[in-house]
C-alpha cells in the first residue's frame, strides 16, 4: 500500500515486457504509456471516456486508458496497439482495415482495433448490428463507420477460419 502524492517508480508489464518510469499517482495510464514509456501508438482524445482513442487491453479486456491511473495497472498485463501486429505480420484486423479502407486520419484506429480484438474474442461470429453496437464507444470523425464494420466482419470470418484450422 502506497500513500504519497509524490512521483515514484511505476513498474508495469506492457506487451509482455517489464517497463518502468517515474510518475505521480495522478498520472493516467494513457499519459504514462505515451510520456513515461514513449509508446505513442495509444492516442488521447477527450480524456472523459467518450471517444475511445485511448483504448488498451488490461488482462485482455478493453478499457479507457484515460479513465485509469497508471498505478492501478501494476501487476496486470497491459497490451497496447504496438503489440497487435507488425508491418511484416499484421493482425487479421489490421489486414482487413487496410483492405476495406477502414481508416483515414488514423486517430481512432488503435482504439478501434483493440476494442474489436476483445469483441471478436467474446463474439467470434457477430452480426453487423452487434459490430455497430460494439464500436459505439469508439468515435471516428472520418470514415462514417461503414468500412470499419465491413473490415470487422471480414476479420471475424478470417479469425474463425484460422481457429478451425488449429
Amino acid at each position: 500500500m502506497s500513500g504519497a502524492a509524490a512521483a515514484r517508480t511505476i513498474c508495469l508489464n506492457v506487451n509482455g515486457e517489464e517497463r518502468s518510469a517515474t510518475a505521480e499517482p495522478r498520472v493516467t495510464l494513457v499519459d504514462f504509456l505515451r510520456h513515461g514509456l514513449r509508446l505513442t501508438g495509444t492516442h488521447v482524445g477527450c480524456e472523459q471516456g467518450v471517444c475511445g482513442a485511448c483504448t488498451v487491453l488490461i488482462d485482455g479486456f478493453a478499457v479507457r486508458g484515460c479513465l485509469m491511473l497508471a498505478v492501478q495497472a501494476e501487476g496486470r498485463q497491459v497490451q497496447t496497439i504496438e503489440s497487435l501486429g507488425t508491418v511484416e505480420a499484421p493482425h487479421a484486423l489490421q489486414r482487413a482495415f487496410l483492405k476495406h479502407h477502414a481508416l483515414q486520419c488514423g486517430y481512432c484506429t488503435p482504439g478501434m482495433l483493440l476494442s474489436l480484438a476483445q469483441f471478436l474474442h467474446d463474439v467470434p461470429d457477430p452480426t453487423e448490428q452487434e459490430v455497430r453496437e460494439a464500436i459505439s464507444g469508439n468515435l471516428c470523425r472520418c470514415t462514417g463507420y461503414h468500412n470499419i464494420v465491413k473490415a470487422a466482419l471480414d476479420a471475424a470470418a478470417e479469425l474463425r477460419g484460422a481457429r478451425e484450422e488449429n
Partner: protein, 288 residues
C-alpha cells in the same frame, strides 16, 4: 485536462479502506473510475486523497443466500451482465446493463459506483429501486442497511456519510410467475438516456396482476416509482387499454428540466417507454 494532485492509497482489506477514508477530511473512493476519473480529468473535483477499492477483493462477489441475492459493490458491470444467477433471478439487471455505457466502460465500471454516482438517467439505480433493493454500507461507526428508496437524497447525492463505503446491495427476487420489461430512449447507443422505464409484473397467466413495480428514470432528480400507475395495475388484467391508461399517468411524474429536454418532453418520453416496458413485461408473463 489532467487530474489535480492527490495522495493515493490502494488498500486490500475493507477495514483498512474505512480507516483511510475517515482519516482525511477530503477523500474520495475510486471504484471503476468511469465517472470519477472523468471528473478528476476535468477538475470538477479536487480530493486530497484517493482510496482505491479495486484491490479490495472481498467487495467483488455475487452470492445467493436464503431467498436473497447479494451483489458486492465492486462487482464489475461485465460480470453482472454475464452472471447466470442474475439472469435467472433479476432479469432486469441484465436487460438494463446493455444500455449502461459501452462494453469497454462495463469492463471497469462497478455496480456500487453507479449507485453512488446516482446520475438521474442511470439505469442501475433505477433497477435497484424497481426491485426494492437494500444497500449495505460500513463506516467507522459500523454497518447499516438502507432501503434503496431512501438512498438518494437529492440530485446525484446519496444518503451515505462522507466516511461510509457502500459494500453490497441485497435483492429479494420476486416469487411466482414474473414478467419484466426495460425500455429507454437515448440519442445514440450507450449515451445516457433521456428517459426510461422498468416494469416488473407478477400474476397468473391471463389472470389479474398480483404485484406491480413501475420505475421511471431520467425524469426527476433520482429514479422514481410511479405508485399511482402501480395501484391501477394491481388486480386488473393487462390489456392495451390498461397500458394506455397507466402510461398516461407517467407524464406528470417528470420534473427534471435541462438543456436536453423540458420536463414535459421527458414526461412524454417516459410514458412511451412505460408503455413498451409494460407490454414487454405482460407478454413475458403470458408466455409462462
Amino acid at each position: 485536462m489532467k487530474p489535480p494532485p492527490f495522495e493515493y492509497f490502494a488498500p486490500t482489506k475493507l477495514p483498512e479502506a474505512v480507516a483511510l477514508l475517515s482519516a482525511s477530511e477530503n477523500a474520495r473512493l475510486l471504484a471503476g473510475g468511469q465517472s470519477l476519473m472523468a471528473m478528476l480529468n476535468m477538475r470538477y473535483v479536487f480530493p486530497d486523497r484517493i482510496v482505491d477499492l479495486n484491490r479490495v477483493a472481498e467487495l467483488d462477489f455475487i452470492e445467493e443466500e436464503a431467498g436473497t441475492l447479494v451483489v458486492g459493490a465492486m462487482t464489475r458491470q461485465r460480470t453482472l451482465q454475464r452472471s447466470p444467477a442474475i439472469a435467472a433471478k433479476l432479469p432486469v439487471v441484465a436487460k438494463a446493463l446493455r444500455h449502461v455505457g459501452h462494453f469497454q466502460t462495463r469492463n471497469r465500471g462497478t455496480f456500487g459506483g453507479s449507485l453512488c454516482q446516482l446520475d438521474p438517467s442511470a439505469e442501475l439505480p433505477a433497477v435497484a429501486l424497481a426491485y426494492e433493493a437494500t444497500v449495505v454500507a460500513v463506516g467507522p461507526a459500523g454497518q447499516r442497511s438502507i432501503p434503496f428508496e431512501q438512498f438518494p437524497v437529492t440530485f446525484m447525492t446519496s444518503s451515505l456519510a462522507s466516511d461510509e463505503i457502500l459494500t453490497a446491495v441485497r435483492f429479494t427476487p420476486w416469487g411466482g410467475k414474473v414478467g419484466t420489461g426495460f425500455s429507454e430512449f437515448s440519442r445514440r447507443h450507450g449515451d445516457f438516456a433521456v428517459a426510461g422505464a422498468i416494469a416488473v409484473l407478477a400474476g397468473e397467466t391471463g389472470g389479474p396482476i398480483r404485484r406491480a413495480s413501475l420505475t421511471l428514470f431520467g425524469i426527476a432528480e433520482a429514479p422514481k416509482r410511479a405508485r399511482d400507475a402501480e395501484a391501477v395495475l394491481v388486480g386488473r388484467r393487462v390489456t392495451a387499454d390498461l397500458i394506455e391508461e397507466v402510461a398516461a399517468l407517467c407524464v406528470a411524474h417528470a420534473t427534471l428540466e435541462d438543456p436536453f429536454g423540458s420536463a414535459e418532453y421527458r414526461g412524454h418520453v417516459a410514458a412511451a417507454m412505460a408503455k413498451s416496458a409494460l407490454s414487454e413485461a405482460s407478454a413475458e408473463l403470458d408466455r409462462q
